[in-house]
Amino acid sequence: MRGRLARQAGIAATAVFALAMISPVVLTAAGAFSDSEWYGQRSEGAGVESTGALFRYVIEIWGRSLLRSAQMVGAVVPLALILGAPAAWAFRMRPYPGSRLLEAAALVPLGVPGVALAFSLLQTAGGAPRFWLLVVGHLAYTIPLVIKTVGNAVDTFDPRIEAAARSLGAGPLQVALRVTLPLLVPALILSSLLVFAVSWGEFNVSFLLATPLLQTFPAALYMTYTTNSFPVAAAATVIFLLPVVPALIAIQALGGEEFHRGLQA
């Protein structure tokens, strides 16, 4: 009896939580497809009559930011993996004096406000190209995710697994290609999705380091909400969400047993 009650309470709590999380997004997105008064008028100087025209309009004014965001993600995802994954592997498989401390230090940026990070980046390397400054800012927030995700996957390894491969005649390269990497593939996919989601949606650093020519989509989204009408902002939000939702669903799907076992060779 009690078990059933607890179960029902759990379902109810999950439903309320999901509703609270999802309904603002749904309402915002609905704004892009509706022209009821409640959502405000669809007049933006230029004639925006239909939903299709609305999206065309958004792409027209924010297309450049969209491209910038795509470039950012394109640079940040591989860089975060290349820098984070080997570090995570070394921290667990080849610990050295001070490696624990270094791993803890690598997580510090997660707790630093974006404003502080952006200004310290400007202070130290203000002359550097803005795009790469932004990339560094994003890496500070995403490498910790890679280190944690890959590190947890390495922890599930048998500590002797690489020794076993070597005893069977595999050299260092073969061990990496035939054992370590295949076992890490699920964690690498998971962390690249996480990095993608975080980098795509990152606002603080992007907004503060943005120049008129270099504005990522979330920063543009902010501008839209402050200057354009709600339907335009809503349409921009829908465009923003398009790649994120599949990524988040994939992250959820990857949490299962497959992830822990490693991909099939």
């Binding site: 076993a164 005893s167 005649g169 595999a170 295949p182 076992r261 490693g262 099939q264």
Partner: protein, 362 residues
């Protein structure tokens, strides 16, 4: 393959793990290394495997110095305590792993050529049928029981036909009943393979059952090495005596009388032919060698527990010394009973005092 370790030492930082260990593994025989945890036996295995480099000393395979040769180029197979199977590969792929890596072996006996796909299939099948794994070839390690995983680890190690097979407590992850069954299977299998085997364990029954050559390791040093029964019957040190099976170590002194040497012990005066110069030491009496003897030493039964095949009886001798005895169940006395006991063996084993640090707990 003939394997020799010469004066091997190893240290983690300043912590010595092995100090000056020399040993020789008989070709085609099973060498078992036994010792308490922390004695360095696993480290010794990793030195022979090439997974660790000795801080000093050398390793010879068939007379060839392989001390600095990395694992992947030594002609060895290793079975790890945790098995370390590849979770992303099937049983078939696990067994085939060592056949596909194309190792450059230093041994001249094995071909340097990579085997063909057909040869690999045949070898995998051979190893699988040797260990009864034919039906499990397409499973993954996570779908196997502990005993099955153990067999896959062994099949994977023997499939490339290494000249030296190293096993690091391969049965310790199994429960007691399964371990006993697997133990005798393993003994049969290892002698059928005919490979030189180096086997690490802390289980003395396993050691006596499997070993052709037994090495007792203690605190990073070889305490004694030799045929297992010799070590059991005539241990060189009190440590070996009490580590291999249960032992009573009774204070003994050599006395001369009538041109003969005799041992003065709490169990009475015993004949001996101890040739050494030492006058004081320990008499080793195994519990199964304590017998009722009408002319023996008076004793009181302190405790008696039936274990099935025998009763484990604790006796207090006249004079206060406690002695452990194994009596057949039907003749075992009850606690409180008094009786006279003696020693069965005609030539009791005497350990001189200079041979070690004294007896340890059983």
């Amino acid at each position: 393959m003939k394997v020799r370790g010469e004066d091997l030492s190893f240290a983690y930082g300043r912590e010595p793990v092995l100090s000056g260990v020399s040993l020789e593994l008989p070709e085609g025989g099973i060498t078992v290394v036994i010792g308490p945890s922390g004695s360095g036996k696993s480290t010794l295995l990793q030195l022979l495997a090439g997974l660790l480099q000795p801080t000093s000393g050398g390793i010879l395979f068939d007379g060839e110095d392989v001390t600095v040769i990395p694992t992947e180029r030594r002609d060895v197979g290793v079975v790890f305590q945790s098995y370390a199977l590849f979770p992303h590969l099937t049983v078939r792929e696990n067994i085939a792993f060592g056949l596909r890596t194309g190792r450059h072996r230093i041994s001249l006996r094995t071909s340097r050529r990579r085997p063909s796909r057909h040869q690999i299939d045949c070898r995998v099948w051979d190893a699988a049928s040797l260990l009864g794994l034919e039906r499990l070839l397409d499973r993954r390690p996570s779908e196997l029981s502990g005993g099955e995983q153990q067999r896959v680890a062994l099949a994977r190690a023997v499939a490339p036909r290494p000249s030296l097979l190293l096993l690091d407590e391969p049965l310790s992850a199994l429960d007691a009943r399964l371990r006993r069954a697997v133990r005798s299977e393993l003994a049969a299998l290892l002698s059928r393979l005919g490979t030189t085997v180096f086997y690490v364990t802390h289980d003395q029954e396993e050691a006596l059952l499997l070993a052709d050559h037994l090495v007792v390791l203690n605190a990073g040093r070889v305490e004694q090495a030799g045929p297992p029964l010799e070590l059991y019957r005539c241990p060189a040190t009190p440590f070996v005596a009490s580590f291999l099976g249960e032992a009573n170590l009774l204070e003994a002194s050599v006395i001369e009388g009538g041109g003969r040497q005799r041992l003065e012990t709490p169990l009475g005066k015993l004949a001996t032919c101890h040739p050494g110069p030492e006058r004081r030491g320990w008499l080793l009496v195994r519990p199964e060698d304590v017998i009722e003897d009408a002319f023996g030493t008076p004793a009181t039964v302190v405790d008696s527990r039936g274990l099935g095949p025998y009763d484990r009886v604790v006796l207090q001798l006249e004079g206060g010394t406690e002695v452990l005895a194994h009596f057949p169940p039907e003749t075992a006395p009850f606690p409180g009973a008094t009786l006279r006991v003696g020693v069965r063996t005609r030539r009791p084993h005497f350990l001189s005092d200079g041979s070690g640090s004294g007896p340890r707990g059983r």
